[in-house]
């Protein structure tokens, strides 16, 4: 084959079914996006149901929304955005062949993801439990909610399912990042090959985007400007 000479300089990660490394990278990114589209529809079902039931039981959903801890929600938004930045920077570090920076930024991403989950489980959900706001775990409908009180548990079902599914995605991402950390430590990624980093980065940013929509939908649009509505 006359064009065999073109292929001789490929790195060892090159898979023979591709024309070159650029095509291999594009195929990997494309495949990851196809997966993320299924994830969009996966979360989309919950978002769609939330929108419908919010429109049907608006007063109940607004009462529920005002009971969420908006300070924790906002703090966690900032933490997750910062973890997206460090994730992007670790891929940048791989691109410029800086192994220690890669490891550092991956570790920072894991640390920030861990802080997010810690705040959510140890503070937010624990406080919700003590305030009797978890349906099925001693939920108490308060008399001051009036007639709207009957559907407040529905809001909290949505809240715990949506943030719970999001948290599950973060736990999965955390485990994948731990594997990548070891691989990066062993010098597996360099400027020619960092597909696992790139794909995991896409996943991590996707989880960030889900939270970017969960935060206003759950915490913010429940009429917090009402006197005494803040928390």
């Amino acid at each position: 084959m006359a064009d065999m000479a073109v292929h001789h300089a490929q790195p060892k990660e090159f898979q023979h079914q591709f024309e070159d490394m650029a095509q291999q990278r594009d195929a990997g990114t494309f495949g990851m996006w196809v997966f993320l589209v299924t994830e969009i529809m996966f979360f989309g079902g919950l978002f769609g149901a939330y929108i419908i039931y919010r429109s049907l039981y608006l007063p109940s959903f607004e009462i529920g929304s005002r009971l969420l801890k908006v300070d924790f929600g906002a703090t966690n938004t900032v933490i997750l955005i910062a973890s997206s930045l460090t994730m992007a920077l670790s891929i940048y570090a791989a691109h410029i062949n800086k192994k220690n920076l890669q490891v550092l930024f991956l570790a920072l991403t894991m640390l920030l993801g861990g802080i997010f989950l810690f705040l959510k489980f140890a503070f937010e959900w624990t406080a919700d439990y003590h305030e009797h706001l978890i349906p099925g775990l001693g939920f108490i409908v308060r008399p001051e909610w009036g007639a709207a009180g009957s559907h407040v548990p529905m809001f909290f079902c949505f809240y715990f399912f949506m943030t719970g599914l999001h948290a599950l995605h973060m736990i999965i991402g955390f485990v994948i990042l731990a594997v990548l950390l070891v691989m990066a430590w062993r010098g597996r990624f360099h400027s020619e090959y960092y597909a696992p980093l790139e794909s995991t980065g896409l996943y991590w940013h996707f989880v960030d985007i889900v939270w970017i929509f969960l935060f206003p939908l759950l915490y913010l649009i429940g009429g917090r400007y009402v006197i005494g509505g803040g928390h």
Binding site: A22, R25, D26, T29, F30, W33, V34, L36, V37, I40, M41, G44, G45, F47, G48, I51, I52, S55, L56, V70, A74, T77, V78, I81, A82, S84, L85, M87, A88, L89, Y92, H95, I96, G201, L202, H205, F206, D208, I209, I212, F213, F215, P216, L217, Y219, L220, I221, G223, R224, Y225, V226, G230
Partner: protein
């Protein structure tokens, strides 16, 4: 096509943009903008933030057309899911309520 290197400066600018928008959306939630404007503002800011993440952190601005098409298709089907479900749910009371045939034929009862 995929052999790009996004400068660190771009990442930092996007990061600070996202921080400012997070502060903005949280602050605006405590101000009564009237009618449904609080919801519209909150969701508009969320869409802008998501676009920033998709275009720059996820490198879609620098990706090929095939990848862009898959993403647009994904969000298009999400829009279909939500729009058609809402179109059903919100228009159910538009048509007159059916009260059952027994009341309609009551005047005719005399015949049978």
């Amino acid at each position: 096509m995929s052999d790009y290197l996004v400068p660190v400066k771009t990442y930092l600018l996007v990061f600070f943009g996202l921080l400012i928008l997070t502060g903005l959306t949280t602050g605006v939630a405590f101000i009564d903008l009237g009618a449904e404007f609080n919801t519209i503002v909150a969701l508009t800011i969320a869409v802008v933030k998501a676009l920033l993440v998709i275009l720059f952190f996820m490198h879609v601005k620098y990706s090929g057309g095939l990848t862009k098409m898959v993403i647009v298709a994904g969000f298009f089907f999400l829009a279909l899911l939500i729009a058609f479900t809402l179109a059903d749910e919100l228009t159910r009371n538009w048509s007159p309520q059916v009260h059952g045939w027994s009341t309609l034929i009551a005047p005719l009862r005399i015949w049978f």
